[in-house]
Symmetry: C2
Subunit: 190 residues, 2 copies
Amino acid sequence: MKLLEDKIKSEGIVLPNNVLKVDGFLNHQVDAQLMFEIGKEFGRLFKKQNVTKILTVESSGIAPAVMTGLAMDVPVVFARKHKSLTLTDDLYTASVYSYTKQTSNQISISKRFIDEKDRVLIIDDFLANGQAVSGLLDIADAANIDVVGVGIVIEKTFQKGSQIIKDRDIQLESLARIKALTDDGQVEFE
Amino acid sequence: MKLLEDKIKSEGIVLPNNVLKVDGFLNHQVDAQLMFEIGKEFGRLFKKQNVTKILTVESSGIAPAVMTGLAMDVPVVFARKHKSLTLTDDLYTASVYSYTKQTSNQISISKRFIDEKDRVLIIDDFLANGQAVSGLLDIADAANIDVVGVGIVIEKTFQKGSQIIKDRDIQLESLARIKALTDDGQVEFE
């Protein structure tokens, strides 16, 4: 998606350890018009999947997920993150490890908002090692629902996250695919 | 806003201690079409304020804030919540007490995304005791910027949150104003 790649080139900041900072338009300050275009694009790409529900994880997934929900006219559920969980009877839960923060979180979704008949599209801001998507897939398995697509705003294709999605034959669409972040601060796209 | 009041009547769940659960369309599962209408309504109500930026707090404020940013064509910044903060040089921070969870959090916004010339609209999902809005007002004061409006999806008018906004002569618009949650589970609007 050219609009997104241009934004990454002009406003993304490359930091050491393969970190790409996009807090100027995606995960702290949010460019609402760009999110709207992203939502429309995911709507177009997953049109044939008869999606009934969108899943994401708080907080950075919410803006692109809600815009996709708007484009596809389906509800969005965002998983909550917790340091720990005690009462879990009414929840589907999974453990998610963050390489950036080097901590594990529990994520949860209320059982009331997932139905066995749902055809779920997972939306997230980043795909790197695939921990967040993997957690949502665990929840989908526990709930016995079909995940028909995964939509990612920015994928780091040099990390292994896409493999778990391809292994399950799920349609994966990444709007910006980054093959390298260079030592001199450049972003190289596929 | 009738659409919102109807949704609260049909899907809101009244719990003890004046808790109104709206996780079916606002703060866990999100009704994207409703959020879009909410964004348009805030855009209409604050049209004359020449808003340049929208502030909110993660996570439940993000959906209505981003839709308002779309309607008004301005960027949205969501404050991050932290249990504690150590490195704060580049951040504006404030302390926010949650009556529901009975814990304090720090909220923060990067200094890079606030400018002295900004005319800020604060958007949040709930106004009850006003702790979150108060934290964002503290940040606005520290950044020396004008807050020209506060837009709330659901206000509990029987709690004291609106007072801190009225005391500062800031335009307050609440799309649903609840005057009572009754023992038999009814929601009474103003």
